[in-house]
Amino acid sequence: MRKPSYFLSLVMLGSATLFTACSSSDDDTSGGGGENPGSDSKYVITATPNTSESVADYILTADQLTEGRISTKGNGVEQDGTYRYYVTTNNMFFSMLYGQGNPGAVTAYELNNNGDLERLTNFQSETVQAFAPVNDDILLTKISRNAESPMAYWYRFSTESLTFVAEGQINTQELADKENGEIAFFTWITQVGEKVYMPYMTVKGCCNDTFGTEYANEANIAVYTYPEMELETIIHDDRTSYIGRYFVNGLTVDENGDAYAFSSGIATTNGEVTSEKPSAITRIKKGTTEFDDYYFDLEEATGMYLTDHVYAGNGKFLGIMETEKTSAYSTGKNFVIIDAYNKTTTSVTGLPTASQIQQLTGRNSYVSEDGSVVYVGITLEGSEGSFVYSIDVDAATASQGLEVEGGFITAISKLDPAE
């Protein structure tokens, strides 16, 4: 029995060595100084590890955004996969799955008195392409990209009962009403007064040019009553291309109740940008369902086009800008403060240059309650890390704050402890 046992022990020894070699690294404790002046509320930060396979998103919490360090290493609430989208409303944090047509589980969290995220419920939802809080609901829409089945489905989710309470359909081909059969594709949803405004682009939905269009130079917004979701009118304008972009909001209401519409001017046909209209801002005055004569050409003002925006307050927006119009899906890496009232723009200083930025939070940035600071998550190129930058809106200056180790920052939000 000598030789066999020698081999056996070789197997065992080999395995043992490998087991030891792979013992897990020490658990990192979450950073942050622990300072928490006068409040038990927490910032909620989501991060996606920068890797290509088996990626899950993680939800982290922090006491403040201006300094310290948090990590996804051994820390954070693991989500079921990536392509999660987040929305905070009614002091609840919703984590939704983009499941490519498949239904999936959405998880709602609240902050408990220990300052930990607690799962409130799991519910089943469709994969949607636009969602936004409306009153005490979240309105979600699943939009067809196929002209053979030109239907959009809307779902009304109550954050009181935490269940879906209504749903309906919209024929997007009839809505678009185009000679060539193009269909409407909603870019996003915005509550304006008591109504729901849904800007859309028209797309072919066929023929190897799904998101291409023959109507590259027009803006359309469908106006629906709420909660009935009955089409009231369509607001149309020829001064810009479509409002918003795929999965990007282009319509924001200010404190006066006026809605400012942002167009990137990047409609495409067969993959080429064919919009002749510049990236610009237009406006719908409170209580009206038409654009007024307000027009601010962003390309003229900055030499760039806008890919996303965050509203700070008092007519001031953080504009995220890109230089070259090459694709409808690019994300800009240049930041300007746009004063929509005075039609001026100021470049933000103190931020990394466009070439140093790998990824940033757009819509999911966090704005302080008084509207004076916008917190943007930026991941730097060359493994230089991910940081939350605080942008002082009035001064148009930025400074580096909280470091998030082990992932791109995908969203920043804030929760108060639940009652």
Binding site: A56, Q124, F164
Partner: protein, 781 residues
């Protein structure tokens, strides 16, 4: 077609009139030939008549002559490396000539023989490559398919998303998907379509399965990154018919017929036909959602309701053997179809109730083999096939289901997942040629060339003029390999080089209003070369060392380049993956107390792979797309122990451990690759009772256990421990009992997942619980 019909009729004749005895009557001379399974005469085999001392030894050709009296005689034939064989001959006055007796190889040695005769299984395993061989014949009584038989091999993990015919993921030492290539008799199985996959081919089709881990010999002309599986099908050099049928849990029916007719003239006709059917309606523990409110009810047990799978295949060959111009020349056709209902998406929350797929295969084949082609020592082999099969994806009901089978329906056009009625043909063609030239007994040169074509044509039946927008999608792939082998008494070495070539043609049609439409043509060409070396050394007759290295490439697959129509977008710019594979192994055979035998083997491996092809979402996140994204290293060890006592008791176990690390400089650098089992093994034991209820009747009891260590779904280092998702530790126990009656009839009873545990291969996708199967196999001749 006429001759095929004739052949089919002939085979049915054989089927229907079994056991029409071969007996002749007459005088006292009995002559014939003793041959092995591949038809070669066995030199030196002894034939003893009954319990007498009278007998003869076969000559170089395996021929013999006996003089017997009229009446029945037992002939007992034995030779080292073969199972002892007993055959009754009825001698009448005319005598018998041309009696043909085939000896079956045995993996164990006869009592009185020292281990020196080697079975084919052993001969393959003793090659310099890191190879495992499954002796499929030993599993012919089971209801296993090829995939599940392979699951018992060290280093291999087969993961399924459900029951019979479900989506399968095969890995060899951590390498998976298209990094592993499959062959049938050395012919690449690329793109055989959905009706001809490893987990729907019954084990009875195969004689043995060779698994090459890491380094792949040049004779298999493949761009395999992590290994290859070669299924060697049954060959018969005499007429043979067997049939089997099994029935089991979840309304599972499987049947198979193997028939071969060999005429003296050298004419041969072969037919393999098989069928699988299952409702797959096993129980699941799931949260059921309310279709209106989205609320989940607490976990309950429900049956799967939309997971029926069936496939039917017919493989027919007709031709000649042992002719001056060909040792074998076969023309054949593989015809089959498959139907698959889709119950879930990637997670159990996605439930479907109407979406299904269909596929068929119509594949003409040509097989030619000639030894001493043109000149002595030059063996030539040529294979070609073309798949005319069609695949369909049918998702036309605008419904949403839950796990109770309830649904809500919208009266507008739409699908459950993606409104689709797409029909396409991939038009795959393949030709492979292999030359082996033995310069002398020690030096051999091998040249192999494998050529592949792909030309997809499809249309969406829902879109009226979709053909106008179809893009040409073509690839051409050629792999040429040259190897040199030197064989000495106690060592041998092979060196080889491979040239990989691929050309992809793709063009987009542009329609501009008011002008002629035009194509923008794109052509991508890859040209890479790889090489390797493999060597082995026998320290003693019982102790073997082997080592090998290869720099290998894996070319992008057609689906990865052009998409799968449904969920995968093509990426025409995909580069090949490449890897450095190192293997070092040892094997030891030990006999003791004359009847006991122990085998040990241990293999260590290291892989360093670059430009790993991963899935990611495409730009507008509507579909997935493959991309070159990663660098991965894998260090591992696998070991196996087998014990055998006579032909009575066989037991063994194997275990595999691998340490697969992400070496891409990102947030999870040096972290273990998640969602891949890294510690797993099998144990099995079989006990045979002989002469139960009569002479030549055998009762065999077997047990098999599968173990997989728990593993994380996502990167191990990330996230709070109590929030992490994973696949729990799995122990699965299978039992089977087989009763063989006079080597003609076999009855088998099988129980899988004996303890009725909830088993998972993929996160949240539960597999069948305890299930029972019964099988009967009858060998007509």
């Amino acid at each position: 077609m006429q001759s095929v019909n004739k052949c089919v009729r002939l085979i049915w004749l054989i089927l229907l009139v079994p056991l029409m005895a071969v007996s002749q009557s007459g005088n006292i001379l009995v002559s014939g030939k003793i041959a092995d399974a591949s038809g070669n005469g066995v030199y030196g085999a002894t034939i003893i008549v009954g319990k007498t001392t009278y007998g003869v030894v076969t000559d170089e050709e395996g021929a013999f002559e006996l003089y017997l009296s009229e009446g029945d005689h037992h002939l007992n034939i034995s030779y080292i490396g073969y199972k002892p064989h007993s055959e009754v001959v009825r001698v009448k006055q005319e005598g018998i000539s041309g009696l043909r007796i085939v000896l079956e190889e045995s993996t164990y040695a006869l009592e009185e023989v020292v281990l020196s005769g080697k079975s084919i299984v052993q001969q393959v395993e003793e090659k310099a490559f890191n190879v495992s061989v499954v002796d499929a014949k030993k599993l012919h009584h089971t209801t296993l398919d090829l995939a599940h038989a392979l699951d018992r091999v060290s280093g291999i993990r087969v993961r399924e998303s459900g029951g019979v015919g479900s989506q399968m993921n095969f890995s060899i030492n951590g390498f998976r998907g298209r990094q592993v290539r499959f062959f049938v008799d050395g012919i690449p199985m690329d793109n055989f379509g959905s009706s001809y996959q490893l987990n729907n081919i019954p084990i009875n089709l195969a004689a043995r399965i060779e698994v090459y881990k890491g380094v792949v010999p040049v004779g298999l002309g493949a761009d395999a990154l992590g290994g290859a599986v070669n299924i060697v099908t049954n060959t018969y050099d005499k007429s043979h018919v067997d049939a089997s049928y099994s029935y089991g849990s979840f309304n599972t029916h499987r049947s198979m017929v193997n028939a071969v007719y060999v005429a003296k003239s050298g004419f041969i006709a072969q037919l393999n036909a098989y069928q699988n059917y299952s409702d797959n309606n096993y129980k699941m523990d799931v949260e059921v959602s309310d279709l209106e409110t989205g609320e989940y009810y607490p976990t309950r047990t429900v049956r799967r309701f939309h997971d029926t799978y069936h496939n039917e295949m017919l493989i027919a060959n007709i031709g000649v053997v042992n002719k001056p111009y060909a040792d074998k020349l076969l023309f054949g056709v593989t015809v089959g179809s498959a139907y698959q209902e889709i119950q879930t998406g990637a997670r159990v929350q996605s439930v479907f109730g109407a979406w299904h797929r269909k596929g068929n295969i119509i594949m003409p084949t040509l097989k030619y083999k000639k030894d001493d082609f043109i000149t002595k020592g030059l063996d030539f082999r040529l294979n070609a096939n073309f798949n005319l099969g069609q695949e369909k994806n049918i998702d036309t009901l605008n419904r949403r289901y839950n796990w109770l089978g309830q649904y809500k329906e919208y009266d507008t056009p739409g699908g459950e997942r993606s409104y689709s009625l797409y029909y396409f043909r991939n038009n795959n063609g393949l030709a492979s040629a292999n030359w082996d030239y033995a310069i002398n007994s020690k030096n051999k040169i091998t040249l192999n060339n494998t050529f592949n074509t792909f030309d997809r044509k499809g249309r969406n039946r829902l879109a009226t003029d979709s053909e106008r927008y179809e893009q040409p999608q073509k690839t051409m792939k050629n792999i040429i390999g040259l190897g040199y082998q030197y064989e000495s008494d106690n060592w041998n070495v092979s060196v080889f080089g491979k040239q990989y070539f691929q050309q992809n043609k793709f063009s987009t049609r542009i329609d501009v209003t008011g002008s002629e439409s035009e194509y923008i043509k794109k052509t991508n060409t890859f040209n890479y070369s790889g090489y390797g070396i493999a060597g082995t050394y026998f320290i003693t007759d019982n102790l073997q060392l082997k080592g090998s290295y290869e720099k290998s490439y894996r070319l992008p697959d057609n689906e990865e380049l052009f998409g799968d129509i449904i969920n995968l977008e093509g990426n025409i710019n995909l580069k090949p993956e490449h890897s450095h594979n190192y293997n070092l192994g040892a094997a030891y055979w030990w006999r003791f107390l004359t009847n006991h035998q122990l085998n040990f083997s241990v293999n260590g491996f290291y892989r360093d792979a670059n430009d790993f092809i991963y899935r990611r979402l495409n730009t507008n996140q509507a579909m997935q797309i493959m991309d070159n994204l990663g660098t991965v290293s894998n260090t591992g060890i696998e070991g196996e122990i087998r014990y055998q006592y006579r032909n009575t008791l066989m037991a063994g176990m194997n275990i595999t451990y691998q340490h697969m690390l992400n070496k891409t400089r990102n947030d999870v650098y040096n972290d273990r690759i998640p969602n891949i089992p890294y510690l797993y093994g099998n144990a099995d034991i079989t006990y045979n009772f002989f002469d139960v209820g009569g002479e030549n009747n055998t009762l065999s009891l077997g047990y098999n256990m599968l173990y997989v260590h728990d593993f994380y779904l996502f990167w191990p280092s990330l996230g709070g421990k109590d929030t992490k998702r994973g696949i729990p530790e799995q122990f699965s126990h299978d039992l089977n009992a087989t009763y063989s009656f006079n080597n003609k009839v076999q009855f088998t009873l099988e129980c899988r997942n004996l303890l009725d545990k909830n088993l998972y291969d993929n996160f949240s996708l539960q597999k069948p619980g305890r299930s029972f199967y019964a099988k009967i196999k009858y060998t007509f001749l």
